[in-house]
């Protein structure tokens, strides 16, 4: 088996894992099960990022999503749903007409997109200045870092303000009223 075959097969397996685990995530009754499947999805996504030469993002994915965000979500589920354990008979709940229509519409969009994505995919984009091997030679994290502190300095600074807003907002909102 050559290198191409290995990479491709790995991709297909991870893609399958991602799809299955995300479907399970969206359908489990118990929010905690959903959260655990979500973590599987995030890890599988990280593997796909690695296959796509995005090492820095893969690591960040594991740390930020699978680590921080899912931790927070699990924590809140425990806090909020401690006594109930799960949400009340979701599957039996009658869907309203609007929900049905919206879901159907989304299904159609999904199918159309799949069809077009597979059949009509064409490289129309302008080629950039960061070929994968050059980036790998310089170091992926280093390249991203140089971009963040160079070209993307302004949004990077604004992102820090965004984090400040997040902190202040979360504290203000969650403050217990006496």
């Amino acid at each position: 088996m050559d290198a191409l075959g290995f990479k491709f097969i790995l991709f297909m397996i991870t893609a399958l894992v991602v799809i299955v685990s995300s479907i399970l995530m969206a359908t489990r009754k118990n929010p905690i099960h959903s959260a655990l499947w979500m973590i599987v999805t995030f890890f599988a996504m990280a593997v796909i990022y690695l296959l796509l030469n995005a090492q820095f993002i893969a690591v960040a994915q594991v740390m930020v999503y699978a680590g921080a965000i899912m931790m927070l979500i699990l924590f809140v589920i425990m806090m909020v749903n401690m006594d109930k354990g799960d949400e009340k008979d979701t599957t039996k709940a009658p869907w309203s007409f609007g929900k049905k229509m919206a879901a159907a519409l989304l299904m159609v969009i999904l199918l159309v997109e799949l069809l077009f994505g597979a059949l009509f995919y064409r490289m129309t984009a302008r080629v950039g200045d960061y070929p994968a091997d050059a980036v790998a030679a310089a170091g992926n994290a280093k390249t991203v870092g140089a971009l963040l502190y160079g070209q993307y300095l302004f949004p990077f600074e604004v992102a820090s303000i965004l984090l400040l807003i997040g902190i202040v907002g979360a504290v203000v909102i969650a403050k217990r009223n006496k």
């Binding site: 929010p31 960040a60 879901a103 984090l163």
Partner: protein
């Protein structure tokens, strides 16, 4: 270097995940699960960015993903605080039972 994974396939995968997330967000009732579905959608977006960036050797996609992750983290912090507040005031986080405002 060996040949890369076709980015058309990655876009298809990202489309599937995005749609699963969107359908989940519309049909589920527990707001925490809805929020997780939205996170899933953001992940699909990240995948699309990474796959496209990789396909035409551009790093802008990766940088954009970095910003999306920042935003997702902030949204998680604020959103979960909001869920806790709603739970304290109304004793539930089911979207159907939180309905003081008609509509």
């Amino acid at each position: 270097m060996f040949q890369e994974i076709p980015s058309g396939l990655c876009l298809v995968l990202s489309g599937i995940i995005f749609s699963i997330g969107a359908i989940g967000a519309i049909t589920r009732r527990n707001v925490i699960v809805i929020f997780m579905c939205i996170e899933l959608m953001l992940n699909a977006v990240n995948l699309a960015f990474i796959a496209s960036g990789n396909a035409f050797s551009s790093m802008d996609g990766a940088v954009f993903v970095f910003f999306i992750m920042t935003v997702a983290a902030v949204e998680a912090a604020v959103g979960l605080a909001i869920f806790v507040m709603v739970f304290r005031l109304q004793g539930t986080v089911n979207a159907d039972e939180v309905n003081l405002l008609k509509g």
